[in-house]
């Protein structure tokens, strides 16, 4: 079971849940993760496909072919807005 951290507007789109759990087999790619997400949360999946929301794996920006393992830290990152 993978845990996915949510922030900002993505958290809002998931009814203020801070994390989602996804039953994704280990060794799969970010591409598959996004497909799984899209099935349950099409609004979020759409933003990822449009590259408005990025996927991070272990605190680095991931790409569709990045491989995800069971212990990895996954997050969905809406557009950054730090810095005042």
């Amino acid at each position: 079971m993978l845990t996915i951290k949510l922030f900002g507007m993505v958290k809002m789109l998931a009814q203020q849940q801070k994390e989602l759990s996804l039953d994704l087999p280990s060794g799969q790619t970010v591409k598959l993760l996004v497909e799984f997400l899209n099935a349950e949360y099409p609004d979020i999946g759409d933003l990822i496909l449009k590259k408005k929301v990025l996927v991070s794996v272990n605190q680095e920006i991931a790409h569709p072919d990045t491989v995800i393992n069971g212990e990895d830290e996954i997050a969905l990152l809406p557009p950054f807005a730090g810095g005042a």
Binding site: K5, F7, G8, M9, M12, K52, S56, Q59, E73, A75, L77, P78, P79, F80, A81, G82, G83, A84
Partner: protein, 147 residues
Amino acid sequence: MSVETEGAMLVRIQAEDFSVDEEINRVRARSTRIGGISTFLGIVRDRSKGRDVRLLTFEHYEGMAQKKLREIRERALQDFDVIEVLVLHRFGAIDIGENVVLIVVGAEHRADAFKACEWCIDELKQITPIWKLEETPEGEVWVEEHP
């Protein structure tokens, strides 16, 4: 203070407000070769893209945000002729006119300090996972902005 603790003080994400004098003094204390200190302080404006703003709330990705700020400090130290760099960002609710972000760069010469300081704040906006919720008369808005 140990090198590790002192290094940690130079890159922080915190809810509390900060004193610019104290943060400048941390940088100043690092070397008597420092002749110029360039500082950028970002504060909450009452307007944002034509909207009135009453309050901002900043959210960050704990762990990754600190990691990215550390990367910014290290790259600035490597890529510019500067002596010390401090990067500090607040989270939580922040009122109009209050402090949000602080960059302090100490260098032997001022042109290097200015260049590195401006680079740091530009880079911070690009790569740091921090988000901003604006409270406006029309409701709450998560701001989508790239610099």
